[in-house]
Symmetry: C2
């Protein structure tokens, strides 16, 4: 496959030029990975017209060179990444105005720029790399698709082993084990396993609660491949569902199908959100769907764009987004169904394939 990094760096340099910046300091790790390939947990990078510099620490000496050596000059700093920054910036006489990532730098590190970097003019920027990342190329879509396949195969395997009497922790263990066996590089976010009334908590981590016969079980999890995330949710019933469980699940299923089928590039985040929300409201559950419909997904599990009320920017072509309506009835339980959709030039394409009808686990 063609190395996508030169094209990404060129697109960023064009944006720097339009913003009258001589260089951009990157402190967001996902942005650094997107441009250089480096996947470690400690780095800053400097993008300049003739050079990209990646600065990391000694734990990553070998890995940084392997992953990023073709795209960047790698500098390993034993004491402080910032020492490397001053060194490289100081060596370039033409660099005066330097952008920094206002959403990815702490106030404390910003103060370092003001104090030790007083020679340069520092300009806050937002989303310069994120805007490039919104539009996925074919390789990125393929990585997310494969991460989706890993997730759905793991879910299939979990459901074959699921039975009442397990704790939520044990269910998470079975699911995460299956994800690893299928090749997941890790867990993009803490696995949500929420049973019975806990399924009414939209963000419940797994707990020691025992899952009982007849209860709802909400599973929200993802896989990671080549750094790219998938994110999927299904809500099942252990044993036979009652009529209330069927009704709520059916409303969410229909709302989610409307979202998946109706979403497309060019529509605003608010209009996308309304595809599912309007239906849930008409069915009388509007007040029980309080979160937004979805979010972009890629190197991070939550990234631009947002599918939510009051988001008036259009969804960009090429984005991959989640569609995840839910209904949460306090004290009773909740249902959420989530898939990942690519907003391609030929229309929306579902990347996660798993039945959305209510599953009653025998």
């Amino acid at each position: 496959m063609v190395d996508p990094r030169p094209g990404r760096i060129a697109a960023l340099l064009a944006a720097l030029d339009r913003a009258n910046l001589d260089a951009l300091l990157l402190t967001g790790l996902a942005n650094i990975r997107y441009l250089t390939g480096f996947s470690g947990s400690s780095a800053i990078a400097l993008v300049m017209p003739r050079q990209v510099v990646l600065i990391s620490d000694s734990r990553y000496a070998v890995q940084a060179e392997e992953e990023a050596g073709a795209a960047a000059v790698v500098d390993i700093q034993p004491r402080s990444l910032w020492a490397g920054l001053w060194h490289h910036l100081g060596a370039l006489p033409g660099v005066h105005t330097v952008g920094f990532e206002a959403s990815h730098i702490t106030h404390r590190d910003f103060q370092r720029l003001m104090e030790s970097g007083a020679r340069w003019q520092w300009r806050p920027t937002t989303d310069m790399v994120e805007e490039l990342r919104e539009r996925k190329d074919a390789g990125e879509v393929e990585a997310i698709r494969r991460a989706g396949e890993v997730a759905t195969r793991a879910l299939d395997r979990l459901l074959r082993g699921l039975r009442p009497g397990l704790t939520e922790f044990e269910v998470a263990g079975l699911l995460e084990h299956a994800l690893r066996d299928e090749g997941s590089e890790g867990f993009p976010f803490p696995t949500i396993v929420a049973s019975g009334p806990r399924s009414a908590l939209p963000h419940a981590m797994a707990s020691g609660r025992v899952v009982e016969e007849g209860e709802l079980l909400l599973l929200d999890f993802g896989a990671e491949l080549e750094g790219y995330c998938s994110d999927i949710t299904r809500t099942v019933v252990l044993g036979r569902a009652d009529s209330r469980q069927r009704e709520v699940h059916e409303v969410v299923r229909e709302a989610q199908a409307r979202g998946v089928q109706g979403v497309s590039a060019g529509m605003t985040g608010e209009d996308a959100d309304a595809l599912a929300r309007d239906y849930i409201q008409r069915r009388g559950f509007g007040e029980y769907f309080q979160h937004s419909l979805g979010h972009g997904i890629g190197l991070e599990v939550h990234e631009a764009p947002r599918l939510a009320r009051r988001v008036e920017t259009p969804l960009p072509q090429g984005a991959v987004v989640t569609i995840e309506p839910g209904i949460y009835l306090p004290g009773w339980g909740g249902v959420r169904i989530e898939d990942d959709v690519h907003l391609g030039s030929a229309g929306p394409e579902l990347l996660t394939h798993f039945p959305r009808e209510l599953i009653e686990v025998a």
Copy 2:
């Protein structure tokens, strides 16, 4: 057990008083959890002499009240956490000077304070809550000890199932599954499974590499209980170790034993680091131990204090720290051994119990 939160809040208020602050805005999630009990992923908090306010979003409406309701006024903001901040600050006429956490706020959010919060004087603070968190109380030490027991039981179970031919992903799956079955609430950091030459990368994530007979296998992982982390590393050999593997492992084992036995409250971070480093240097491997000896552990897997060169502050009594020397020979492999130690009033106490002699997995 006595609720520790009122005492923690009182200690923080005393520190605010000494710093001439009327209030402190908390944006660090671990600090918020320490003071209020809230464990979710989206919150800010405001600590004032007569009131603690926790502001979260609608996904956490039920959970925030359950976890933090006894320690704080909970305010759920559907649109922006910051709207809640202006509301609560504005309702208190005596509040003029407000601290914020310079290491836990982005430059972008700092700009919100400057723009929308121009009525108040904002003062950067660092480590006000972290300094309280360094000294663990009995309940915290007990949670870390139990998280250590979960980790060592999981490791024991993994070693019984380990065999050549598994991928690193599959090994991670077995280990993480065992951690869940033992009750771990999650994974404090991405599991490190590094085999053969990959064990020379101190921070290698698990990969698709197949683990072969006769190879080193480095396992670095942790468990989480009541939000508290353990962190342990063992390096084993699949099958019979050769003489080089034995030699390197023995140097690391002896260095780690010296660290565990010699570390104590009152000694500087640099002197603690030297306990193991000096021995490794004398044995001729100094240049292959490039990271620091250890770090504090608690609600976060990396927190204060640091056990490293050039750290001249003394280790506080009550801290829990890791002791984790390693030797990494590029192209050959690496060995690291790590345990968690409580620096109690009666001397250092090991919290993770698992053999440190070289294990040859049959």
